[in-house]
Amino acid sequence: MSPRLLKKTLLRLGFWCLIGILLVYAVFPFYYAIVTSLKPSSALFQVSYWIDNPDFSNYAAVLNQASFLRAIGNSLVVALCVVTLALFLSLTAAYALGRVKFRGRGPVLMMVLGVSMFPQVAVLSGLFEVIRALGLYNTSWALILSYTIFTLPFTVWVLTTFMGQLPHELEEAAIMDGASPWVTLTRVLLPLLWPALVTTGLLAFIAAWNEFLFALTFTLTDSQRTVPVAIALISGGSPHELPWGLLMAASVLVTVPLVILVLIFQRRIVSGLTAGALKG
């Protein structure tokens, strides 16, 4: 084997090794959760990396808890509301920020970015007061409101960037055709922004779906809880037992919808992230 060929083969080998390491790093925790969730509690602490004889008793137990199903429903409602609200608000904001030239545009964008830099904990107590004052404590609206606040800076920035990339003449053509700003936005620009909307919408959905701190603080009863909190509060038969099997089964159940969503929209996301070549 010539040295060149050897070098090439080694490089290729190293490349795949690296990919393998990254893959294990990213997937192993989830994989181990699946493995654990499929074991009966008696077999929990025997370390094994393969699924030998799957046992679905954990899943059955989780799905039999009414409060867990309720939590999934709550999470779904909250996440969908957040996505709708955030996309609507950020789309209209992005139209103004990305297409209209006005004084103070830069400062507004900077402010939006600045707001998103506060850590959740820093605003928690203040937000709690706001939610109490609005009478939203222990309702889904509390979560919808607080998640929207935290999602908006991101969605506004992403959509503003996309909006800014659309050719200016397109909008002027619409104006010449007699379109109002609203018609221009919804019938000319919106269809071109679909990939961006799907991308940001999905990311907003994931953020709302996984959020824990606000959900724990702003909800009190089982009937209002979202999934992350519900999972955290699953308890075993005695205070000293952590029902790992149940926890893992619930986690897998909660993660699967996200994975499916991402797979469905995968191509959209990629095209959304690389869009910009929109020349008519």
Binding site: P167, E169, L170, E172, A173, A174, I175, M176, D177, G178, A179, V183, V188, P191, L192, L278, K279, G280
Partner: protein, 379 residues
């Protein structure tokens, strides 16, 4: 009938004055071309007429009605954009019909008008296609169709052909000319390409630095430029300019210049003082060359062969060589010494501000009569 009238229109952006006191009248059915170097304000003027930019001062009247504050759709204008700006997600049919749909046109008449427009532009077979499936020329036609569909009285074109390749450009130029003949609507066309301007226009408006330099038919502008700018802008290769000064002012002027020596020219310079700086302009096709004797005359510094004609460059000692258009088989070569013969009738004289001096007597010169031998400057 006056279709569109601009009355002392001004436009400012930031501190810069983009248009200064532009006044212009455009008759119904006229094909008007705005031409000028980049940054002269021609596109801005078009956008003011369209209503995409606001007017800072002065009036814009369409059919005698002041339209300064009207929305674009209320002005009865359609516009074709430089980059076409077709709606990428709509079919050709929807692109053309979008304006009609927004105007709440009834469905059957909308269909009828879209089909009619498509037929005029030979787009019938492409109606279901998306813009990305069309060639450059077809996209251009869709853009025109979209502007035409609402049957505006005035069609505006903003450098519509600059994205096309050379041969397609010639073809689309002819199509636009045919379209104008067929529709008979008023068209205003912005370009920086003087060939487009000369071939398409009934009336050319030359803009420079936000001001109108001259308005007239292509022939007027070419043969009787009112300023040195217009003279230099139209024509390719451009007009030759020679520095000169006024020797004896009067109704016919005696002018002295480097290459021509002292010549009497039929222009009126009675307003000017003796020794004023002038510049003389002569187009390459109005020069002819003759072999010079010995070491007299000018030296040929370059020859450009174009197939149908040859451009001979002559070294005059100025920065730019003089260019003379010759027949291909004239056979001049670099280093040859030539005598310059020029046609006094086609010599233009500009004062220090670039304004053309008024011509005398030339207009009364019977056609076909050769200029008097004494008036032909020979070097």
């Amino acid at each position: 009938m006056i279709k569109l009238k601009l009355d002392n229109v001004n436009k400012q952006l930031g501190g810069a004055r983009i248009l200064r006191d532009v006044s212009l009248e455009i008759s119904a059915g006229e094909f008007v071309v705005f031409v000028g170097p980049s940054g002269c304000g021609k596109s801005t003027l078009l956008r003011l007429i369209a209503g995409l930019d606001s007017i800072c001062g002065g009036d814009l009247l369409i059919d005698g009605r002041r339209v300064n504050d009207l929305e674009p759709r209320e002005r009865g204008v359609g516009m074709v954009f430089q980059s076409y700006a077709l709606y990428p997600h709509m079919s050709v049919y929807d692109n053309i019909g979008f304006g009609l749909k927004l105007a709440k046109t009834e469905k059957t008449s909308l269909r009828e008008r879209v089909l009619k427009t498509a037929q005029i532009l030979q787009l019938d077979k492409l109606l279901q296609r998306k813009p990305r499936e069309l060639s450059g020329g077809q996209r251009q036609r869709v853009a025109m169709g979209r502007a035409m569909a609402r049957e505006p009285d005035i069609l505006l074109f903003d450098e519509p052909l600059s994205n096309l390749d050379a041969s397609l450009r010639v073809q689309m130029r002819n199509e636009i000319a045919r379209l104008h003949g067929r529709l008979g609507s008023t068209m205003i066309y912005v370009t920086h390409d003087q060939v487009e301007a000369m071939t398409l226009a009934d009336k050319i408006v030359v803009l420079n630095g936000g001001r109108i330099e001259q308005v007239g038919s292509p022939r007027e502008l070419y043969e009787r430029p009112a300023s040195r700018f217009v003279a230099g802008f139209l024509g390719s290769p451009r007009m030759n300019f020679l520095a000169a000064f006024l020797h004896a002012p009067g109704e016919t002027s005696q002018v002295e210049s480097l290459v021509l020596g002292r010549t009497t020219l039929p222009v009126d310079s009675s307003d000017l003082a003796a020794n004023t700086q002038l510049s003389l302009g002569i187009r390459p096709e109005h020069l002819s060359l003759k072999a010079a004797q010995g070491t007299t005359g000018l030296v040929v510094s370059g020859v450009e062969y174009l197939g149908s004609e040859t451009y001979v460059h002559l070294d005059t000692g100025q920065d730019e060589p003089m260019v003379c258009r010759c027949e291909v088989n004239a056979g001049w070569r670099i280093g040859d010494r030539v005598e310059l013969q020029l046609d006094i009738d086609n010599l233009h004289v500009f004062d220090a501000h670039g304004t053309a001096l008024k011509r005398r007597a030339i207009e009364s010169l019977p056609a076909g009569v050769a200029p008097h031998p004494a008036s032909a400057g020979v070097l």
